[in-house]
């Protein structure tokens, strides 16, 4: 037995700085990381196995729990994969509602990101503000779906419940409020010299390696590559809405933060447009008896853009009332393992939690 020279630091699973229940084992020399290995599995619940035991619709209760900070893209992606297998059309109104729900989910996830990003740098005030304000979005969800966090709202063929005009008004009001609040957040975070000092040049994802490492979503846009499922492969009614996909140069925490800051604005704008353009009509395409619903044999791959990046579902049906195989790939799957292990060596240990928050590492998405 030869004792290692470098100190071993366990960042997680029980650690206030880790983004969820996972562990990054660090070998540090001084306060510089020499080697980092991600250990996951603390949240492994065997979702994919369990979904094989449920029928097509029961799967939704499990699906939304794939990733806690932002459950709705999971539902949507699965629903779209099943719709593709079953050749099921979605009414246009439902598509608009889905877009609104998606963007609301994105917004509330951004507010958690504000809290995490600022909190990991020691700016707790912003975290308290944004997580507190996040409740307003959760209220909207609650009114629409009945659930604060888990909604099980989007089903194959549409959504579960129609939106009302009062709800729409509330959404618009909330958007106005959030727009105002975001100025406050930005003032506290982006205008702060110390935050800039901490964020600039730290946690750099190299541009030439980014796609190969599997970087997606805001971190990829942060290195200056314009890549977004919403424009690459438009789904629902995103191609009918007018929005920008922001990019920034540098690939550091600062660039990623800038991208997210602008995306927050874009989400609000998308929601406003969607509410404005939403047509009247059905919100749901009735499925047969959910218990006996048989989906034709086949394989389908669907992906959507979540706040951390693209989420893909590979759904296989063998023509029975249960899915034969469902495989989910979230953005954190690569961000949390490969990318993190690649970019952490050489960083200061003070920046690790900062970097993880900036990459959007979400452990339940990795191990499922």
């Amino acid at each position: 037995m030869i004792r290692e020279k470098e100190t071993t630091l366990y960042l997680g699973p029980q650690h206030p700085g880790i983004t969820g229940n996972m562990m990054v084992k660090l070998k540090v020399q001084g306060d510089t990381v020499v080697k980092a290995t991600t250990h996951v599995g603390y949240l492994h619940r065997a979702f994919e196995k369990l979904i094989e035991q449920r029928n097509w619709l029961n799967a939704f209760t499990l699906l939304c729990r794939f990733c806690v900070p932002e459950p709705d893209p999971m539902e949507l992606t699965y629903a779209r994969a099943v719709e593709e297998l079953d050749n099921r059309e979605v009414p246009e109104r439902a598509q608009y509602i889905r877009v609104i729900v998606m963007e609301l989910a994105r917004l509330q996830s951004f507010m958690l990101w504000y809290a995490g990003q600022a909190g990991s740098a020691g700016l707790y005030t912003l975290g308290q503000w944004s997580v507190g304000d996040r409740n307003y979005i959760l209220d909207l969800f609650e009114e629409l779906t009945g659930g604060r966090i888990y909604h099980m709202y989007i089903w194959p063929g549409g959504v579960r419940r129609d939106v009302t005009d009062t709800w729409k008004d509330k959404v618009l009001k909330t958007m106005d409020y959030l727009e105002k609040r975001q100025d406050d957040y930005n003032q506290l975070m982006f205008d702060n010299t110390i935050f800039q000092k901490r964020a600039k040049g730290v946690g750099i994802v190299p541009k030439d390696k980014a796609i190969e490492w599997g970087v997606v979503g805001p971190p990829l846009r942060g290195v200056g590559i314009k890549s977004d499922v919403r424009i690459d492969e438009p789904y629902e009614v995103y191609d009918k809405l007018d929005f920008e996909v922001p990019t920034a140069e540098g690939g550091d925490i600062w660039a990623r933060a800038l991208v997210r800051k602008e995306e927050f604005r874009q989400s609000i704008s998308i929601i406003r447009q969607a509410i404005e353009k939403m047509p009247k009509g059905d919100y749901y395409n009735k499925v047969p008896n959910p218990m006996k619903w048989v989906v034709p044999e086949g394989q389908a791959w669907a992906k959507t853009e979540s706040v951390r990046g693209e989420i893909g579902f590979y759904v296989v049906s063998n023509g029975t009332n249960k899915p034969y195989r469902v495989h989910a790939k979230g953005a954190a799957y690569t961000h949390g393992v490969t990318v993190l292990e690649k970019i952490l060596p050489g960083q200061n240990i003070a920046d690790i939690s900062f970097i993880m928050n900036s990459l959007g590492v979400c452990p339940p998405e990795i191990e499922r």
Binding site: L11, G17, A121, G122, L123, T125, G132, A350
Partner: protein, 315 residues
């Protein structure tokens, strides 16, 4: 010695005062922080409850002798320094011993607690503690430079190294040192940001990477005792600043009960106002990395301190 009893009484009174005020300030700051964060916040006496709870924990874990001693060292440093600074200028009720110890002594004595704490943290064997200590000591070298510069400026300006004397001089002339040597005051103020370990200088126990830093392995009565020491230290630093720069408190010519209470009121107002500076700064700033913090202290605050010394020489 006929005044021995009075001295002991005064010492106990001073300790109780420092402890109570320090704890209450901590509670008020928690409350205010909550209000800034749009929250209702805990009651102002929450810190006392926390302390009491820690003290009545049924099991306590120590990692050996130095771990056991660490809170002792902190309390020694806190109480000793407290007894050697004037609480109220020349008041009989607080017969401090500041005649028997001067600024250099206080400077060094304040380190005593940190070193004891560091040793206790070191013995626990937790790498987080050691890294926290490494950061703490490094940062200390940062903020001590402007602080000492400002003290040197005061000492040579008034040709005294005693806190008592400095207070007395301000009392007699009626001009606060903050006005007579503003540069030294500013340098000391910047240094105080580091001393209180609020953001942006709270990297020592940054939860995002070190759990709770040096105190990671302390709980129960040990953590409670450390908290008391920390509270007294907060009061000490504030009182020291007030007496050095903000004219002090208390009237040596009148030591009646009403005058004493009045002096205490002045002291509390001044210390609390001063306390709000690092607290305000902490609310709106994320934390510096260690080397950034050190470099911060070595730039403007040190420059101000040097100007302060030059000002003191030529004034």
């Amino acid at each position: 010695m006929e005044d021995l009893g009075l001295k002991i009484f005064g010492a106990i009174l001073t300790t109780i005062l420092g402890f109570t005020v320090g704890m209450t300030y901590g509670g008020i700051v928690r409350k205010l922080t909550a209000r800034v964060q749009n929250r209702y916040g805990p009651p102002f006496y929450q810190n006392f409850l926390d302390l009491l709870k820690l003290q009545v924990k049924k099991t306590n874990i120590a990692h050996g002798f130095m771990g056991h001693m660490a809170p002792v060292w902190i309390i020694i440093a806190a109480v000793t320094v407290l007894l050697f600074i004037p609480i109220l200028n020349g008041n009989l009720w607080f017969p401090n011993m500041s005649f028997h110890g001067d600024l250099i002594f206080l400077l060094y004595m304040m380190v005593f607690g940190s070193l004891g704490m560091a040793l206790g943290a070191g013995q626990s064997g937790n790498p987080n503690s050691a890294i926290g200590v490494s950061r703490g000591l490094s940062q200390m070298v940062g903020f001590e430079i402007p602080f000492v510069l400002s003290l040197v400026a005061l000492m040579i300006q008034y040709e005294t190294t005693s806190v008592q004397e400095l207070t007395q001089i301000q009392h007699e002339t009626g001009v606060w040192n903050a006005i007579s040597n503003p540069f030294a005051f500013l340098a000391a103020l910047f240094a105080s940001l580091g001393m209180f370990r609020y953001s942006p200088f709270d990297i020592v126990g940054a939860p995002a990477e070190l759990a709770s830093g040096p105190v990671s392995e302390f709980g129960g009565k040990y953590l409670g005792t450390m908290m008391s020491g920390g509270a007294i230290f907060a009061f000490i630093k504030l009182t020291l600043y007030v007496h050095l720069f903000l004219g002090g408190a208390g009237n040596p010519d009148n030591t009646g009960i009403i005058a004493t209470l009045l002096g205490l009121g002045v002291l509390l107002i001044k210390t609390f106002t001063l306390y709000m500076v690092p607290v305000f700064y902490g609310w709106i700033n994320p934390r510096y990395r260690t080397e950034q913090a050190i470099q911060y202290f070595w730039r403007w605050p040190t420059a101000l301190g040097i100007i302060g010394v030059i000002w003191a020489v030529y004034s």
